[in-house]
Amino acid sequence: MSRPTNLSLGRWFSYRGGTGYLLWALHRATGVGVLLFLALHIVDIFLLGFGPELFNELLFLYKAPWARVGEVFLLFGVTFHALNGLRIIVQDFSPRLWAHQRRLVVLEIVVFVIIFLPAAWIMITAFLGNE
């Protein structure tokens, strides 16, 4: 007879953790996401070796509208992952900052918004302007 453990995928998400929990989930998701993009990116760069025709042809893939939406996601992922990673690193190397985690998180979010929103704006308007 196997006993239940009160643990399932649903419960994972239903645990009311703090911002730390949310940030970790995002860090993980963006890390993996950026890695997947990187894999794709290496493949297309590799195609350089087959000459400009193929490469330029494929580049339009990046310029398709759905790819431009993806670009905003990529911006989000890289910016968030970088900032959140930086926060973790800073805390790791001065543990006394752990006690101020909440303030560091607020700082992180503020900096994120300051960078991400204008950059995303530029990206979107540049794209719309080109259409």
């Binding site: 007879m1 006993r3 239940p4 453990t5 009160n6 643990l7 419960r11 994972w12 239903s14 645990y15 009311r16 953790g17 703090g18 911002t19 730390g20 929990y21 970790w24 973790i88 805390q91 790791d92 190397f93 543990p95 006394r96 752990w98 006690a99 985690q101």
Partner: protein, 232 residues
């Protein structure tokens, strides 16, 4: 005020699968959640099983998942959680019955970090001297009551039941940073293993869950630093 408790039930001798039961009754806002559970057990349904003892947050018996987050039932008042209260056993532990979980793996991990004072030098006639500052360095982690609220709130532990978990690291920290102890190297080599501190992803659920308000993530961070520093 009228409260409704939604309680996780698992009665293996009666029914194979877990289910939820609801109980509504009148309670004071200043009652502890534990008082509500006792009321259920004593007057509404005697089959409810839960552990409890001291009733004031010292013995560590009644860590439960209350409204989605780990707390001691005897340290939260009803007014702090509202009139709809969901009570479940700790996550990632085998449930024995209702709210009672198997704590053996938890204590197994506790024992794995050599949680006892080690110093084979002959002691002085009187006490070993320790300055107020040296004593302060590990004060926070001496408070741990082994309630398991932290370890069972850690997603890294849910994913990896082998992870020693924050409570065991807290207990190890208490000795590693005790100026009188000589066993730090042994403990650090255990904590430096795969299932040790490196499984901690600084998620912080543990620190939020700790009823003794121990800065657990900070303590884990100090242990990580110590391992890295000792290697270089």
């Amino acid at each position: 005020m009228r409260v409704t408790f939604k309680v996780y039930r698992y009665q293996p001798e009666v029914r194979e699968d877990p289910y939820y039961d609801s109980f509504s009754f009148d309670a004071e806002p200043t009652d502890r959640v534990l008082d509500g559970l006792n009321h259920i057990k004593w007057h509404l349904d005697g089959t409810l099983a839960l552990r409890r003892s001291c009733q004031h947050g010292i013995c560590g018996s009644d860590a439960l998942r209350i409204n989605g987050v780990n707390r001691l039932a005897c340290k939260v008042l009803i007014r702090d959680v509202g009139s709809k209260i969901t009570v479940e056993p700790l996550m990632g532990c085998e449930v024995i019955k209702d709210l009672v979980v198997d704590m053996d793996p938890f204590f197994g991990h506790y024992r794995a970090v050599l949680p006892y004072f080690m110093n084979e030098e002959a002691p002085p006639d009187r006490e070993r001297i320790q300055s107020v500052e040296e004593r302060e360095a590990f004060d926070d982690t001496t408070k741990c009551i082994l309630c398991a609220a932290c370890t069972t709130s850690c997603p890294s532990r849910w994913a990896n039941p082998g992870f020693l978990g924050p409570a065991a690291i807290v207990q190890a920290h208490r000795f590693i940073f005790d100026s009188r102890d000589r066993g730090a190297a042994d403990r650090l080599s255990i904590l430096g293993e795969r299932s040790g501190v490196w499984r901690c992803r600084t998620i912080y659920n543990c620190t939020r869950a700790c009823p003794k308000e121990i800065q657990i993530t900070k303590a884990i961070g100090e242990v990580k630093r110590r391992i890295v520093d000792d290697r270089s």
